[in-house]
């Protein structure tokens, strides 16, 4: 039972991965999005010296909006291609949700690595003092962002104004996580020790767990509509 569930979750994940690698829609769009946003920020910074604390916030603004433009595809593409009914027949809601969640997490993870690496290289003045806190923040932030935005993506796939609605619905949900992430990134920039950021990590982990659990309960209602 459990083995077959895991197997079908992996099948859903592989299906999404294959169709993404074939079209590279999200990959290409997100890549350009990150580069565009970064260059705008670099142009506006110019020769000014910006404090690293402020840049920590800007980093998460880029991550938030790039995930808003990329992660909604998972469910919308099913609606657009008309494959929803097939999925209804083939898999149980829970396995679909977890398959999509894993796909979104991996997609966001690869993009965050790219964004953060680019940010560290090209933005002058952004120096991380404690890479331990920084790395854990990026990893936990990715997991939390993916868990919240997957369920919102499922909701907006059923609505009419998909593109504009996504950040509007996601922002109040993501705000506690984003505030914590910015705070933890500031700590890593200021060179705090790992023990100082334990509280932030706790909030991030509990956020991810709570959102994933409640989403797996609620996904069935959305999916059946």
């Amino acid at each position: 039972m459990i083995r077959s569930t895991i197997a079908s979750i992996l099948v859903i994940f592989k299906k999404d991965l294959h169709s993404e690698l074939r079209t590279r829609y999200a990959l290409n769009a997100l890549l350009m999005f990150v580069i565009t946003t970064l260059s705008i920020i670099l142009f506006s910074i110019g020769n000014e010296s910006v404090s690293p604390e402020l840049l920590a916030g800007i980093l998460w603004v880029i991550v938030f909006f790039s995930s808003m433009s990329g992660l909604s595809r998972t469910f919308i593409s099913e609606e657009e291609k008309g494959t929803v009914l097939t999925l209804h027949l083939l898999a149980r809601p829970l396995t679909i949700y977890y398959g999509k969640l894993i796909f979104n997490t991996i997609l966001l993870f690869s993009f965050n690595i790219f964004t953060v690496a680019l940010f560290l290289i090209v933005v002058p003045g952004f120096t991380v003092a404690n890479y331990g806190i920084f790395t854990i923040t990026i990893i936990l932030g990715t997991l939390g962002l993916a868990s919240a935005s997957t369920i919102i993506a499922a909701i907006i796939a059923k609505a009419n104004t998909k593109g504009t609605l996504y950040p509007v619905l996601s922002f109040p949900i993501l705000l506690p996580l984003l505030l914590t992430l910015i705070n933890a990134t500031k700590l890593s920039v200021d060179g705090a020790v790992l023990a100082d950021a334990i509280g932030e990590f706790r909030i991030m982990i509990s956020y991810m767990v709570v959102l994933t659990v409640i989403s797996s309960f609620l996904f069935e209602y959305i999916w059946k509509e």
């Binding site: 919240a148 369920i151 919102i152 909701i155 907006i156 059923k158 609505a159 009419n160 104004t161 609605l165 509007v168 619905l169 922002f171 109040p172 949900i173 705000l175 506690p176 996580l177 505030l179 914590t180 705070n183 509280g199 932030e200 909030i203 509990s206 956020y207 709570v210 959102l211 409640i214 989403s215 609620l218 209602y221 959305i222 509509e225």
Partner: protein, 228 residues
Amino acid sequence: MLFKLILFLWLSLVIVAGISFPITMNPIHWNELPMIPGLEDKARIIFFHAPLAWVTTLAFLVSLFHAVRYLGKKNFNDDIRSSASAGLGIMFCILATVTGSFWAKFNWGSFWNWDPRETSIFVLLLIYGAYFALRSSVEGEEKRATLSAVYAVIAGVTALFFIFVMPRIVEGLHPNEAIIVRGRISMNSTMLIIFLCSLVGYTALYMWLLRLRVRIAQLEFQLLEKGN
């Protein structure tokens, strides 16, 4: 009708008492309010702002409660109650934000300074706004009801995180500390009675408005069904 009249008189008395009763250093007469250091006359806002903020939270919880019930039973009345309560909540939320912001201007020197309470009421406003943005962009009653109920539940759960997140981010300036000093309330009995009366009055006002809205929505729904 009688209920409406009583509510009108009740709230009028609360407003008159809250604005006109004098504030003195040592209250002796029955109608005198105590001086709270640092707040003085500005303390009067508590009779109006705090009940509004309370009703905002109550409306959100009622909306959440009916959203969960809708998901369980798929009874359309629950969706009507949930959205009606959210509609009232957004009104009370705006009023609470505006009154709080005015008070902040005179006490803290600026209309807005991202105090934890200000942030949390701002987030509540965002959630209400997103909820109605979602409702207006979904066609089909059942779909709209389910999606907005799911969103309300997710929003309600994440709103809880602010209780843990906010104290880590900013220091609080909100004067609960001035009014409740080491577990003792620095209001005298007159002030406490007016405050409690105001809470009861605003809650009754909310319930009355909610009943009206629910009845209107139900009648509209019946009309729509007859039309089809």
